[in-house]
C-alpha cells in the first residue's frame, strides 16, 4: 500500500495537519498496524518539497504537537488522480517464492505435493482466521478482509493448478 499517496488523498478532503491525518489514516486503513507519526511527518515534508502540498498556516488545537496545516496543490491533485486511475500490478513476491520452491523440489526429487499441501493448509488457516474476524466486523473492515481473502484465494487457485500439473511439470523440467 502506498502510504504517501493515501495521505495525499486524505489531505485532499480539505486542509489538515499531521496529527489529524495520522488518526484519519488509522481509522480507515490502520487495522492492526497504525501508521507511525514519524512516517506521517516525513511524508508531509517530502510532499511539501515536491510541491504536492502547500503550507497554509498554524492552528492551535491543544492536543496536536505539530499544528502546521497543509493543503493539496493542483500538482498534488493531478498526481493523486494519476495514481488513483492507474492499475496496480499483481503482487508477485509470495507466488514467485512458491514457484521457486516447487521447481527446486521437482529438480531435487523432493515431495513437491507436500510443500504445496503445507502452503495450502497455511493459506486456508489464514482464510479461516480472517473469516472469523470478519464475522462481526463493520462494513469498512469487511471490505478490507474481503480484499485479503480474495488474494489468498487467487494463490490457492494457483496452488491447486500447480498440484494438478506436477507430473507434467516434472517431465518438462527433466527435459530442460
Amino acid at each position: 500500500m502506498d502510504n504517501g499517496k493515501t495521505l495525499l488523498g486524505l489531505l485532499s478532503q480539505g486542509p489538515s495537519h499531521g496529527y489529524d491525518l495520522k488518526h484519519t489514516f488509522d481509522r480507515f486503513f490502520g487495522g492492526e498496524k497504525p501508521l507511525a507519526f514519524g512516517q506521517v511527518y516525513a511524508v508531509l515534508a517530502r510532499m511539501l518539497r515536491d510541491g504536492l502540498i502547500a503550507y497554509v498556516g498554524e492552528e492551535a488545537t491543544g492536543e496536536a504537537p505539530d499544528r502546521k496545516k497543509y493543503m493539496v496543490t493542483p500538482i498534488g491533485r493531478e498526481m493523486l488522480l494519476g495514481w488513483m486511475f492507474t492499475a496496480e500490478p499483481p503482487s508477485p513476491a509470495s507466488r514467485s517464492d512458491l514457484m521457486a520452491k516447487t521447481v527446486i523440489a521437482l529438480l531435487v526429487d523432493e515431495d513437491a505435493q507436500r510443500l504445496l499441501d503445507v502452503q495450502r493448509s497455511a493459506h486456508l488457516a489464514r482464510m479461516r482466521d480472517l473469516t472469523k474476524a470478519r464475522r462481526d466486523a463493520a462494513l469498512l473492515d469487511v471490505l478490507a478482509y474481503d480484499h485479503a481473502l480474495f488474494h489468498i484465494e487467487a494463490d490457492l487457485r494457483w496452488i491447486d493448478l500447480a498440484a494438478a500439473r506436477l507430473d507434467a511439470l516434472r517431465q518438462e523440467i527433466a527435459q530442460r
Binding site: 493448509s121 497455511a122 486456508l124 473469516t131 464475522r135 489468498i152
Partner: protein, 228 residues
C-alpha cells in the same frame, strides 16, 4: 477413534466399474463441528459424502454414526435413518416446483408421519429462522436463487437433524448471495449444535468451517483447523 466423534469412517473403499472413487478413507467428524471437505473434481468427495450419509454403501469399510454401524443397515433402515437424523442441501435446491415454500419445508416432517398442522407450524418457524417469513406461499419459481437455497436449508433443518450434509450449497449463487445463504445456514447450525459436512471446492466457503480435509485421488490428504 477421536473422542466425541459423531461420525467415524474406517477403511472406506468404493468403485464404480473400473473407477476407484474411494481408496481407503479414514475420517472422524466431531459432534457439532463444521467440517469442509475439499478437493478437485472427481477426487471422490461426493462419493465420500454419500457413504457417510448412508446413501451409498461402500465396497469395504465401515461408517458409524452416533455409534451405529450404518453400513450394516438394509436400504429401508438407512432410508429411515436419513429421514430422521440427517438433513441434505444440494447445489441446486431441488425444491419441488409444484409445492409452495412452506409445503416444501414441511415435506420431510409429513414423510416421517408428523400431523399436517404441526408440520405446517414447524415449516413456518423454520422459514422465519431463515428470514423468509412472508414467503411461505410462494412457489420456487417466484423465489430468487438465494431465497430458494434458504428454503432448501429450512427443509433440511426442519427435522432438527443430528448431521447436515451440504454438497456445494452455494455453488450456484453469486458471491454476495452465497455469503448470505452460507452465513444464515451456519448461524443456525451453530446455534443448534448440528454437525455439518460441507462439500465445497471454494476456499472462501471452506474458510467458514472449523476444519477442512482435502480429498485427492480417493484418499484424505492434508487437513488443518480446530483440534478437539
Amino acid at each position: 477413534m477421536t473422542e466425541n466423534a459423531i461420525i467415524t469412517a474406517r477403511g472406506l473403499r468404493k468403485s464404480f466399474g473400473p473407477t476407484e472413487a474411494l481408496r481407503g478413507v479414514d475420517l472422524d467428524v466431531r459432534r457439532g463441528e463444521v467440517l469442509a471437505v475439499m478437493g478437485p473434481s472427481g477426487s471422490g468427495k461426493s462419493t465420500l459424502l454419500h457413504c457417510l450419509a448412508g446413501v451409498v454403501v461402500p465396497d469395504e469399510g465401515t461408517v458409524r454414526v452416533a455409534g451405529r454401524d450404518v453400513t450394516a443397515l438394509d436400504e429401508a433402515a438407512r432410508s429411515r435413518l436419513r429421514l430422521a437424523e440427517f438433513g441434505f442441501v444440494f447445489q441446486f435446491g431441488q425444491l419441488l416446483p409444484e409445492l409452495t415454500a412452506a409445503d416444501n419445508v414441511a415435506l420431510p416432517l409429513l414423510l416421517a408421519g408428523t400431523p399436517r398442522g404441526r408440520a405446517r407450524t414447524a415449516a413456518h418457524a423454520a422459514l422465519a429462522r431463515l428470514d423468509l417469513a412472508g414467503a411461505e406461499r410462494r412457489y420456487p419459481t417466484e423465489l430468487s436463487g438465494g431465497q430458494a437455497q434458504r428454503v432448501a436449508i429450512a427443509r433440511a433443518l426442519v427435522t432438527r437433524p443430528k448431521v447436515l450434509f451440504a454438497d456445494e450449497p452455494t455453488g450456484s449463487l453469486d458471491s454476495l448471495a452465497a455469503e448470505h445463504v452460507l452465513t444464515a445456514m451456519l448461524d443456525l447450525v451453530r446455534e443448534d449444535g448440528t454437525t455439518v459436512v460441507l462439500i465445497t471446492h471454494d476456499p472462501r466457503t471452506a474458510a467458514h468451517a472449523d476444519r477442512e480435509v482435502i480429498v485427492r485421488d480417493g484418499r484424505i490428504g492434508a487437513s488443518s483447523g480446530m483440534v478437539a
